[in-house]
Symmetry: C2
Subunit: 419 residues, 2 copies
Amino acid sequence: MSDIQGEIETLGMNARKASRMLATTDGQQRDAALRAMAAAIRDSAPTLLKANQKDLDAGEQAGLDAALLDRLTLNAERIEAMAAGLEQIAGLADPIGEITALKPMPSGIRVGQMRVPLGVVAIIYESRPNVTADAAGLCLKAGNACILRGGSESLQSNQAIAQCINKALASAGLPTAAVQVVQTADREAVGALITASDYVDVLVPRGGKGLIKRISEQATVPVIKHLDGVCHCYVDAGADLNMAERIVMNAKTQRYGTCNTLETLLVDAAVASAFLPRIVTQMTAAGVELRGCEQTQAISPSVGQASAEDWDTEYLAPILSVRVVDGLDAAMAHIEQHGSGHTDAIVTTDYARAQRFLRAVDSSSVMVNASTRFADGAEYGLGAEIGISTDKLHARGPVGLEGLTTRKYIVLGDGHIRQ
Amino acid sequence: MSDIQGEIETLGMNARKASRMLATTDGQQRDAALRAMAAAIRDSAPTLLKANQKDLDAGEQAGLDAALLDRLTLNAERIEAMAAGLEQIAGLADPIGEITALKPMPSGIRVGQMRVPLGVVAIIYESRPNVTADAAGLCLKAGNACILRGGSESLQSNQAIAQCINKALASAGLPTAAVQVVQTADREAVGALITASDYVDVLVPRGGKGLIKRISEQATVPVIKHLDGVCHCYVDAGADLNMAERIVMNAKTQRYGTCNTLETLLVDAAVASAFLPRIVTQMTAAGVELRGCEQTQAISPSVGQASAEDWDTEYLAPILSVRVVDGLDAAMAHIEQHGSGHTDAIVTTDYARAQRFLRAVDSSSVMVNASTRFADGAEYGLGAEIGISTDKLHARGPVGLEGLTTRKYIVLGDGHIRQ
């Protein structure tokens, strides 16, 4: 075993032990720790800025680009946001210990399910140091120990944040191993972490698609992951076109870089000539490049030509592909073939078609008459979000505290035996 | 791509297509197909027996042992049980389409979760041909298409059962690709199936531990799996010893070969000299071999000596390991170290210790004053069971129809856009 594998194994064993202790804490104690974490981060702002400056200096020397350096940067506002985020998590209801549906069975036993922590959660993320506090806070709230592996470019910042967290954990009487940061920048640590099935119950990679794809292909630990967000909006023959225009504009232009941003507009042929010129004018005015199918171009000649690739592309940019389709079934077939199972919406006033779309489209969020931009933990009332899952198992769509828990069966008897 | 990979890919594409159609069927149509499957199996009994005889003849020639040949055997009773099982599944409530917790959000949208099929389920199993009908029935009820890969020794039987199923699907207006049996006995097919992430949403291996371990190590498709059942019963100082005796005897001796059978008895030192002689007498009378720790042997000298290995062993046989522990914490530490996270029970009249055990023991079923033998889908009221999961994610404990489904978010708006 290499030194790095040994380090990960030690972190794993400590995390496992801490997780057993955390599983029996009450919510008030975990909330007190979260509030102490917020206070420690506020109090240590100068130290955090100093550590962050070291990362920034090293990053500049290493030639990181401006966007990356920006993501890496801590300032007074971002430090306050970290602290406030932890306090917000402390204010959420405790998910742990809830017993659902305790029911008597014909044998006389009572059977229910109790919500319990998953155990040990590993988070692998890229440059933003605030993830260290956010992820630690969410894991702790759900009674999990966590092992955090941030980008090597933010190691100093992450360690400084972790020190605040550990001080707060100790002051609240919780094991400091409840939150551990991988100390080495060596990439071998990632490989060791994602295969540490004995110690890690679930892995949450956060970052670019490349990172997530690589990790989920190599991991033996179960992964909660988010891949593409190729989101669709289908404007049905029965749509209120004013509403459709408002929704499509919002879904595409409210923010370009988010995973729930609209990437492909599908328009029923029955309303294409009424709707397309309007939306083309609006999108063009907003600076959005349009790439359309032949029918779209025939109606709106200013639209560029979409290639086969366009239909599968998550632009994350002011570009929209547009396709005229022959009704609901064609729209759903397009989504089935080209979608990524993230978020898809229909705009319609037709009851039956709305119901069919809701039922049949196999995506983590399916919407009627609403902007795809709503696919978000906060908008769904989850309080906080560890990520958005495009997987079908365990957690699907925005993942809040519940996704960091599991349910075990509990059986209450009074000496019952099986016949 | 090899021929076998090609065959699996074709099965996968057909299953995917069928699953999209199944997802929008209503429950009555699926139930009609299930009842037609039952009827077709009853009507085809002679054909099934003939196909099964071919498997049995080949099995005898290949020198399969008696136990395996017994599992492989179909007879009138087993055929009727298959048919009745399908009718029972048809009688269960439709899990699909249920919308939970549709709530208005501050933005005005309403957000809920809809239960939907997983999509395509692959089942890999060993010799019992009845799994073909059971698994197909459960998958269909939950709106999934399935690909079935039974043991090569039962291929003729499985194909004959599949023919009944396909006839019934067609008669109910459902795609026959909703249930497909892998036609080749080549083991390469298993490798292709467990890595067919584009077409298969979840894998349920059913069989011996060797099969399950191998499959889950090599699969890239998510697996719902069951490994060990090293189940414990802890007799607390506060136990009613008559109750404890009844529960422990039932948990160990009601059936030896099941995963929820008791394998290790833990006894609080405070009641060890009162309890052990009683249980040793009873177990010995029942023909159970006892292997104990030193303290156990000091109290009951007839008990053999347990080796370090015994504490980690799932006997599936009339053997019980027995350990005296120093109270609840020591019992939970033993379970944490040696348990398999399957099913563990406490016998006690003490409220606080019962609550602590329930909360802290990290197993798929945790019981108070009940026999571990209750850990079972039917006893839990699930109606039917595809297996018992010792995983923590997605499905934990007995897995019924719900484990074969997922929930997607649905958003209902009235032209809402994100601010």
